[in-house]
């Protein structure tokens, strides 16, 4: 299996009133294609910062980050945007759907920035919404959908461009337990179909759905075991 993510001695510091705060301390992480990895840690452990760096929303203070053969270090804003568009599919805790767009239009959004033609966008978005079981809800607006359905739309949006990594940040955090399980089941299926998934969570029960758990505590990583 080919390596799609490689982090070497990643350090992230923030400066607060001349005081240096090390959030990530020499992180080393390798992820291969087809993996389903949970990054498990309590709040304040640095997992959100790590996710931002993995998702190319932020750049490390030092260290080397290679994502799908791109060295992220020397990319500018525009190139980072392209990398995000091509390589990363985000799933957020709060879904982050645009309320003024229908489910279909929300799913089309990343394809607009990828330059896909309108006809292909419609076709592809409808296809993928069918895959997550929302064929009959395509023209609904987010406020007409349940939390679970909204997260399904968000997941559809995250995979519609066939990104290298599906990056989920507490994807069940805003859902009840049953719906959360259904969403995790969907992630599992997507992983079985060959998608690489990285999930950030603080919830051990949720992390169990993944094949590999990486613990993060006070900015340091350690491999954990799936119990």
């Amino acid at each position: 299996m080919s390596e799609i993510l490689n982090m070497l001695d990643i350090v992230k510091c923030y400066f607060l009133d001349a005081e240096e705060l090390v959030v990530l301390n020499k992180i080393n992480l390798k992820i291969n294609e087809g993996e389903f990895v949970s990054i498990l840690g309590p709040s304040g452990s640095g997992k959100s910062t790590l996710m931002n760096i993995i998702g190319c929303l932020d750049v490390p203070t030092s260290g080397k980050y290679i994502l799908a053969n791109n060295d992220v270090e020397d990319l500018d804003e525009k190139e980072l945007a392209r990398i995000r568009n091509r390589e990363i599919g985000f799933v957020f805790q709060s879904f982050q759907l645009l309320q003024r767009l229908t489910a279909l239009e929300n799913v089309e959004l990343p394809m607009i920035y990828a330059g896909v033609s309108p006809e292909n966008r419609h076709k592809r978005a409808a296809e993928i919404l069918g895959r997550v079981g929302l064929t009959d809800k395509m023209n609904n607006y987010p406020n007409q959908l349940s939390g679970g359905q909204q997260q399904r739309v968000a997941i559809a949006r995250s995979v519609v461009t066939e990104p290298t990594i599906l990056l989920a940040d507490e994807p069940t955090g805003a859902l009840d337990q049953k719906t959360g399980q259904q969403i995790m089941q969907l992630f599992k299926e997507l992983n079985d179909e060959g998608r690489t998934i990285i999930m950030i969570t603080h919830d051990t029960n949720i992390a169990r759905y993944s094949k590999r758990i990486v613990n993060i505590l006070d900015g340091c990583l350690s491999e954990g075991a799936v119990s």
Partner: protein, 390 residues
């Protein structure tokens, strides 16, 4: 991408109807006041200019007070003036007020003007009936006259004035024609005037010198050189004394008025531009609010792969849309205001393509200039902070 940005901008404008409407209103007021003011000033200028032209844009008027020894111009001077290049004729004007008797009606203070055949040839279409003054009348000092329309109505109510004999200042004069009602300005009105051959008028009014002459130009573009030639002749006629005559070129007056109204247009447009500026600030304000409101959206779009330039374009298009909207509606409102003003103030409404281009271009520029800062702000938002924004 451009089409997508336009769609998104449009959807946002529609979504915030009230806010968009108020912002559009700001630009609308600015543009409509510019259009209305420029059009009204131009229309009024046109009306003033055409009134002055009706006094004779193709003629130069000489006023000759003369010297103590020579109080005016003589026949010889007139001949010399008529021989200047590009001059097609000269018409002396002798004027005075006198009494007028017909039947048993006496009217005093009637304005009597002495003209020659050139006047009737040049000022064509002024006769309603009968004939004008001809060269024989002038040479023979015939006792004939042409009567103004109002005067004719007043004195000859129901009877034909042509052929009637009247007394002007005690001299019997035969009426040979009636003037049409003059539609020109009050300054040029001949409705209450009697026109005689100037030679006869001089005799009747007891005037010995010609103090006013209209010089008709065959080419009005040569008015400068004609004025110079006339001045040379007049200078020699009056022995180069100062303040003995004046040469009044209508074109000069029209030019001066043009300059004044041109400045007035600029001044008023400048004042109206201030309201457009305020409209622009309104756009900026709205866009800044919009950027703040949609911080999360911007963050999401960035996370999904929107480049900074694409975010900037989306917001810029939104402000240009608003502004263009205001510009087009302002153009329509401005035209309506100007049209109403044209009807009320009685001038001809004209709108130049230039004015339309100015309005649309100005509003697009306002949208771009005042939309740029908010759009840049949006494009520079850090996606992490933006996504976290609640």
């Amino acid at each position: 991408m451009l089409k997508e940005s336009m769609k998104m901008a449009w959807s946002n404008i529609i979504h915030n109807k009230m806010r968009s409407f108020l912002t559009v209103l700001g630009v609308l007021i600015g543009v409509s006041s510019i259009i209305a003011l420029i059009t009204i000033v131009q229309g009024a200028t046109g009306s003033i200019t055409s009134q002055i032209s009706s006094l004779g844009a193709d003629k130069i008027t000489i006023q000759a007070m003369g010297t103590r020894l020579k109080q005016g111009l003589n026949e010889n001077d007139l001949v010399q003036l008529s021989q200047v290049n590009n001059v097609s004729g000269v018409s002396p004007t002798v004027s005075g007020k006198t009494s007028f008797v017909y039947d048993r009606n006496v009217k005093t203070g009637v304005s009597v003007e002495g003209k020659n055949e050139v006047y009737f040839k040049k000022e064509s279409d002024i006769l309603a009936r009968g004939r004008g003054v001809n060269i024989l009348d002038v040479n023979n000092k015939n006792s004939i006259a042409v009567i103004g329309s109002d005067l004719a109505k007043e004195l000859f109510f129901g009877t034909e004035p042509v052929g009637q004999k009247i007394l002007i200042n005690g001299n019997t004069v035969t009426l040979v024609g009636v003037l049409k009602e003059s539609s020109g300005s009050i300054l040029a009105s001949t409705n209450n005037t009697v026109i005689m051959p100037y030679t006869s008028a001089m005799k009747t009014l007891g005037v010995r010198n010609i103090t006013s002459v209209d010089v008709y130009m065959s080419d009005a573009n040569e008015s400068e050189s004609i004025t110079n030639d006339l001045t040379t002749i007049l200078n020699s006629a009056f022995n180069y004394r100062e303040n003995t005559f004046s040469v009044l070129n209508m074109q000069n007056i029209i030019d001066v008025i043009g300059n004044i109204t041109g400045m007035l247009t600029l001044l008023l447009a400048g004042i109206a531009s201030i309201s457009l500026l305020v409209g622009g600030i309104g756009i900026m304000n709205m866009m800044l609010v919009s950027v703040t409101e949609r911080t999360t959206e911007i963050g999401l779009r960035k996370a999904l792969g929107a480049e900074p330039a694409q975010i900037q374009l989306q917001f810029l298009i939104e402000s240009i849309f608003i502004s263009l909207f205001g510009g087009i509606l302002g153009l329509i409102l401005g035209i309506i205001i100007a049209l109403s003003a044209a009807v009320i103030m009685d001038f001809t409404f004209t709108i130049t393509a230039w004015t339309i281009i100015l309005a649309v271009g100005f509003s697009a520029a306002v949208g771009t200039i005042f939309g740029l800062a908010p759009a840049r702000k949006a494009s520079r938002l850090n996606p992490i902070d933006a996504l976290r924004h609640v």
